[in-house]
């Protein structure tokens, strides 16, 4: 492990880190040349279409595909009988049941069959010709329904994990998570103010603009080449192989450009279907989801019910916290309630707490990660109650947060102590920003909130090849979902000492680069960037020895400065990198190096935000007037794309807060599966989003990087809720804070104002 002192200088004097070169993949994306998965066409390619369940919960009595297979142009049909049954202990068991329903369909949109045909039109007709007999079963749509006594069960064998005594009867509760410290009741007894509130949120979708798409070309020897839109092509490879009962080595996955993910493309939906259809038809097959399918069948994030109770002394010191969280997992067990528990109190140093969370299955699409998964709902509860506490004890809400903010050395609720973290610095930055003291008009209000996301490390591989002309190719295994190729080029440039324009960063397929974990958990610039740095350091060592050879001097006499070898103990003229690569053949052959690592010590991300709103008292319409976010990036490699991540996260949070929600009818059928009625923010809904990049370096990373991708989405919901209260005096505790809800709260209070603990 690298030594922090030498790798994170207190006053870094970087040449390329912190600059804003044009991203390497930019030109292709502004000219239409960039190839996304759905853009690929192969000779003889067939079009696929998927048949999905029209019911929220039903037993599949029978499936008859004969009529479909009889249609001219239909080349292959796959159903549950084409896929092996996995051992339920297999970690991918649920993924394989989500991709193809077996005895039961568990939500509207659950896959029942897939067809490949000579045209989209015929493939669609064929799926409509498949006769499926269902026995409709009663369904549950919310944690309340699913946890109720006698609720219909999704899985007859699901036993709740981590309960005392051990569960013996099946239920819809997959897991209980408990975190506690100190004596929570004694803590509340110490408090002068105790406030307890309950909050609900609805499922929301990641909303990437590119629907899931895949092209598979499988040959008769059961090997397949797969082009797809994914955040992790190595996971696509292993999950697809597992579902088919194949070896991973039988499948080569080539990452296409990915049109947004935000967590929603960290699992698979179509790939095994396409691979098997292609195998059966002996032709390449393309499967592309419609937007309707994306909403009905791919992962939204959890709907939740959360109760938070906080106690504080008159001076604002928090003495105790209690939280109860229930998160929907969708149709199969997940970890979302557990993650909520990890995040709900982490920004603050609370001496006594008890956190109890539940993961609950419901008849909805399977929940999958969405940007800082589970944290925004938890922050909605904690940050709103904190705002009430601040008002109750008469302390500025920002000061109250600063006073209780977690600092280096404080133990997180999970147990481990925080290293250097930037929460207080982000709060300070907001306080100093002119926004925080700007005047407000009538019907306007201001709210603040903070957010936390833990970030992850995991495994990454990188290789660097120096070309004869002194340019470099840097390959990694991390799909680029937001500009990571630009940051890879900059970090490589910093080590090699050549301009980022001389470096071509690429994303390698599963056969051309070492295993790399999925682009998730804000890990790519941190972990994969670290691998790039290590590979470049190896090649610098090699460059120095080649220079020593060319000078015929001892390697010890060579140092690498600013892109050239310098002779420390002699008067040889410096050798720039291009001169060494030009002579590579004479000095031992081409220069190449690679590095792989399991990145340790991902630095937690914190941010603080302030938001101004105006509320129309007659219609309940909330307008975002101004928004400022301050985030600890550790070190901003390419500040423009750090800002872009911060702004994108904020705006997704604004959509979640105000209008986005899954709406279901009484039968569990989604009513708003399209961009018209699933209301994501449009440009005219928003102001500019001001960003303040705070840099508290992550000591374990050579350049101090922390992940920046996710945490920005965490505070907007409570910041907006607190601003609405500041403007109107009413508290909104149920999402979305749509005009209907806000007007209802304004008209009859709904017990939503402060002081009704």
């Amino acid at each position: 492990m690298t030594n922090p002192e030498e790798t994170t200088p207190s006053k870094p004097d970087y040449k390329y880190i912190g600059t804003r070169p044009i991203r390497p993949d930019g030109l292709d994306k502004v000219t239409g040349r960039a190839r996304f998965a759905a853009d690929l066409s192969l000779p003889g390619m067939l079009a696929g279409h998927v048949l999905r369940s029209p019911h929220a919960h039903a037993r599949i009595v029978s499936i008859d595909t004969s009529a479909a297979e009889a249609i001219a142009g239909v080349k292959a049909v796959v159903t549950r009988s084409d896929f092996p049954d996995l051992d339920p202990a297999n970690p991918e068991y649920n993924v394989t049941r989500n991709l193809m329903a077996r005895d039961k369909v568990l939500y509207e949109g659950h896959v029942v069959a897939a067809v490949a045909a000579s045209s989209r039109h015929i493939a669609k007709l064929a799926t409509e010709a498949i006769a499926v007999e269902y026995e409709v079963l009663p369904h549950v749509l919310t944690v309340d329904e699913a946890m109720a006594d006698g609720a219909p069960l999704l899985h007859s064998d699901l036993l709740t994990q981590n309960v005392e005594p051990e569960a013996t009867e099946a239920s819809n509760v997959a897991r209980r998570t408990v975190l506690e410290r100190g004596d929570v009741e004694a803590g509340f007894a110490e408090a002068d103010v105790v406030i307890e509130r309950e909050f609900t949120t609805k499922p929301v979708h990641q909303g990437y603009i590119e629907p899931h798409a895949v092209v598979a070309d499988t040959s008769q020897d059961d090997t397949s080449v797969v082009w797809c839109s994914s955040q992790g092509h190595f996971r696509v490879q292993s999950q697809t192989a597992t579902m088919l009962g194949w070896e991973s080595s039988q499948i080569k996955v080539i990452p296409a450009e990915i049109g947004g993910g935000f967590g929603g493309k960290t699992t698979i939906y179509l790939e095994p279907l396409a691979v098997l259809l292609s195998r059966k038809a002996n032709r390449p097959v393309k499967l592309v989801m419609s937007r309707d399918e994306v909403f009905r069948a791919t992962g939204p994030t959890s709907g939740t019910r959360i109760r938070v109770k906080l106690g504080a002394k008159k001076d604002g010191t928090l003495t105790a916290g209690k939280a109860w969280l229930a998160y929907e997992d969708g149709a199969f067990p997940g970890i979302w309630g557990m993650l909520g528990c990890w995040c709900i109190f982490t920004p603050y140093d609370i001496p006594n707490f008890h956190i109890e969370g539940f993961d609950v299955v419901v008849n909805k699409p399977v929940n999958i990660a969405y940007r800082a998964p589970s944290a925004p709902m938890a922050a909605f509860a904690t940050e709103t109650v904190l705002d009430e506490i601040a008002r109750a004890v008469g302390i500025d809400p920002l000061d109250l947060r600063l006073q209780n903010a977690a600092k280096e050395g404080d133990a997180s609720p999970l147990g481990p102590k925080h290293g250097p973290i930037g929460l207080s610095e982000t709060l300070d930055a907001i306080r100093k920003h002119p926004h925080y003291s700007a005047p407000l008009g009538p019907n306007q209000g201001r709210g603040v909130a903070t957010g936390y996301w833990f970030n992850i490390g995991e495994s990454s591989s990188a290789s660097v090849n120096l070309n004869e002309n002194g340019t470099a190719v840097v390959a990694t295994g991390s799909p680029d979902i937001g500009g990571s190729r630009a940051s890879m080029a900059i970090m490589a440039a910093e080590v090699l000492g050549i301009h980022p324009d001389r470096i071509r960063p690429v994303v390698g397929d599963t056969e051309s680069i070492g295993f790399t974990d999925t682009t998730e958990g804000s890990r790519t610039t941190f972990a994969t960037g670290w691998a790039v740095i290590e590979a470049c350091r190896k090649i610098v060592t090699e460059l120095k020895s080649r220079a020593a050879t060319m000078w015929d001097v001892d390697g010890e006499e060579v140092e690498w400065v600013d892109g050239e070898a310098r002779h420390t103990k002699g008067d040889n003229d410096p050798l720039p990198l291009a001169k060494i690569t030009a002579a590579a053949k004479q000095t031992g052959g081409p220069l190449t190096a690679s590095a792989s690592l399991n990145a340790k010590g991902a630095g937690p991300a914190f941010c603080s935000q302030v938001c101004d709103v105006e509320v129309d008292p007659e219609t309940g319409l909330v307008t975002i007037l101004r928004f400022t976010t301050a985030q600890d990036a550790g070190r901003a490699i390419h500040p423009s794309y750090v800002e872009g991540q911060m702004q994108g996260g904020v705006v997704q949070g604004i959509g979640w807060a105000l209008n986005e929600e899954y709406i279901f009818d009484g039968n569990g059928i989604m009513e708003n599966a399209g961009f018209l009625d699933y209301r994501m923010p449009v440009a005219s809904d928003l102001p500019m989003i001001d960003t303040i990049i705070v840099e508290v370096p992550n000591p374990v990373h050579p350049y101090g990087v922390r992940g920046v991708g996710e945490v920005g989405i965490v505070p907007p919901i409570p910041a907006i809720a607190n601003a609405i209260h500041d403007a109107t005096g009413v508290r909104l505790r149920d999402l979305p804070m749509s005009p209907v809800r806000v007007l209802e709260a304004l008209t009859n209070g709904n017990g939503n104002s402060d002081g009704d603990a």
């Binding site: 506690e180 998964p373 147990g415 481990p416 925080h418 490390g457 958990g521 340790k600 991708g709």
Partner: protein, 80 residues
């Protein structure tokens, strides 16, 4: 001696013991020693991530355990 902190899910095997002190060269050896003292706990600990002095490491089986380190076993995280 390293200090090992045990979460609620682990305390089911320790009869409620929340913290123990142990000497071990690697996480693997540490788990073996914990298993010897608290039968059944190993299965619960394998596959989890390990926080060594606050720095979370996934797949930590062969990680060295520094003298006087603070060790927490935490579920392997994921993200968006």
């Amino acid at each position: 001696m390293a200090r090992i902190f045990l979460g609620l899910e682990q305390r089911r095997f320790t009869g409620g013991v929340a913290e123990v002190e142990m000497q071990a060269s690697t996480v693997k050896q540490l788990i073996a020693k914990l298993e010897a003292r608290f039968p059944g706990i190993a299965e619960q600990l394998e596959g989890t991530a390990v926080a060594i002095d606050g720095s979370i490491v996934a797949h930590a089986t062969y990680e060295p355990v520094p003298e006087d380190a603070e060790i927490h076993f935490v579920p392997t995280p994921s993200g968006g």
